[in-house]
């Protein structure tokens, strides 16, 4: 039995000390209070439980460009973090650092499986895999309907001969002009080509701006947050495992 007086901080008046000395608390109750105090402290800190301590990298493909965003699981963007990109043969394709917004982007020549690795110096590491199938919009920098070859040259802006080929095709098929007067046909075809091309580019640029926000939201959703149920489950598992150990040892003792 412990007197309640021992729990009083020093400096209390003698009267209150007398009152407290009359209250006796059993040892078992002390243990219960001890454990309850610890649990309550943790429960009050639960708002912090939403954050763990991992790092995450999320990546998405737009056309032939891959955008990445790197952040720690408490939401802070990771600046100047090392990024390395490997292909499926584990060959290092390129490396770089994230910007002050935690972003890093790069272009590829062809759709392929990629492994993007984010690494801080202190043992934290995260990776994101991009498969060939993610490149659905590859080559959409070229307008559809043109049967042009999608080669690296096309994407870097070279290959005007092909453009001219497709240019003529639009004039022939899409705009529906007959090939009666060649000159007029060509100027009309030019305007049709430019309008459609520009329209596609405008739509693509606007979509890119909108989709960037959507991809960022997806990245956040994908990241698994620690929840109270995880914490309680973990504590349950720990107690259970040690309990199993006790049961196992008890059997051994009995057998002895």
């Amino acid at each position: 039995m412990y007197s309640a007086k021992r729990f009083l901080p020093k400096g209390f008046s003698p009267a209150s000390l007398r009152i407290f000395s009359r209250i006796k608390i059993s040892g078992k109750l002390c243990s219960v209070f001890f454990i309850a105090a610890i649990l309550l402290t943790y429960i009050f800190l639960i708002p912090c439980f939403a954050f763990g301590h991992r790092i995450n990298i999320y990546a998405w493909v737009e056309g032939n460009r891959i955008y990445t965003e790197s952040y720690s699981s408490d939401g802070k963007l990771l600046k100047n973090a090392n990024i390395r990109v490997y292909n499926s043969d584990k060959k290092l394709l390129l490396e770089g650092k994230t910007s002050t917004d935690g972003e890093f982007s790069f272009e590829v020549d062809e759709p392929q499986d990629l492994l993007i690795v984010l690494e801080l110096g202190d043992g934290h590491r995260a990776e994101y895999r991009i498969s060939k199938a993610d490149f659905s919009g590859f080559g959409s920098t070229e307008s559809d309907g043109f049967e042009s070859d999608v080669t690296g040259n096309e994407l870097s802006g070279k290959g005007s001969p092909d453009r001219e080929k497709s240019f003529t095709k639009v004039g022939g098929e899409k705009s529906g002009y007959t090939e009666s007067s060649g000159g007029q046909n060509e100027s009309l075809a030019t305007s049709a080509y430019v309008n459609e091309e520009r329209l596609r580019k405008i739509i693509r640029d606007e979509l890119e701006k909108e989709l960037k926000g959507v991809y960022q939201i997806l990245g956040r959703i994908e990241q698994k947050r620690t929840s109270v149920s995880d914490v309680l489950g973990g504590i349950g598992y720990i107690v259970g495992l040690f309990g199993l150990y006790m049961a196992f040892k008890k059997n051994k003792n009995i057998q002895k």
Binding site: R6, F7, K10, C30, S31, F33, F34, I35, I38, Y42, L45, C48, F49, F51, G52, H53, R54, S72, D74, K76, K79, V117, E119, L120, G121, D122, G123, H124, R125, A126, E127, K224, T226, D230, V231, G233, G234, I235, Y237, I238, V239, L241, F242, G243, Y245, M246, K249, K250, N253
Partner: protein
């Protein structure tokens, strides 16, 4: 402080696993059957402590509590920390499965070292019969000794964990000095906070449940 998957070489992982296995075996052998529930409580405390994150400038770190575990559990800190780390990997994806051994050694070995260093000081402060005429000042001296030992234990345990983690990264090829600077400096606030927390908990325990601080509280009485 938890090292993630894919950072370390296979040899380091195997070595860490071996040392962790030995430490856990010693801890389990010395663990008294009656005291296992209390080990479970402290293991849960360690498990939850990693979620209490402390913002440090641009990044953040988290509490470790291995100093406290070492002082109270001694060698039993190895199985306690191992179990907590397993659950952190499974539920929160902290660290990794292959790095369990290495992470256990990096956190439990400082706990045991700190136990060896400060156990006698804690015992003296807990059991100290003050022969002073003024019992109050004697108790105050004991309490401050206890707080100081707790603070040093908490501080040194985190410091050693940082050094061991940097050594592990060095053995896998990264530059030791850079990693050590990064880890140790970013954990200095944690060291101070953990020192204060450990010291306060020890003083509180002495008041409320002094038998927790007795020699080999969780361990078998006869070695």
């Amino acid at each position: 402080m938890h090292i993630a998957e894919g950072v370390l070489t296979t040899q380091v992982l195997a070595g860490g696993g071996g040392i962790a296995a030995i430490g856990t075996a010693i801890g389990l052998k010395k663990l008294d059957y009656e005291r296992v529930p209390r080990v479970a409580i402290l293991s849960s405390a360690f498990f939850v402590a990693s979620l209490i994150h402390i913002p440090v400038g641009p990044s953040s770190t988290h509490l470790i509590l291995n100093g406290l575990l070492g002082l109270i559990l001694g060698w039993a800190a190895f199985p306690a920390i191992l179990v907590a780390l397993i659950l952190q990997v499974v539920l929160f994806q902290f660290g990794g499965f292959t790095t369990l051994g290495v992470n256990t050694v990096n956190m439990a070995l400082p706990a045991v070292i700190v136990w060896m260093l400060f156990n006698s000081a804690v015992q003296k402060a807990t059991n100290g019969q003050s022969n002073d005429q003024n019992e109050c000042s004697g108790r105050r001296k004991n309490n401050s000794m206890l707080f100081l030992s707790g603070f040093s234990a908490g501080f040194i345990a985190v410091l050693l964990s940082g050094i061991f983690t940097s050594t592990t990264l060095l053995l896998s090829g990264s530059e030791f000095l850079n990693a050590a600077k990064l880890i140790v400096i970013s954990h200095i606030p944690v060291m101070i906070i953990e020192g204060i927390v450990t010291g306060s908990i020890l003083v509180f325990l002495k008041k409320v449940k002094p038998e927790v601080l007795q020699v080999g509280y969780a361990l078998v009485q006869k070695m």
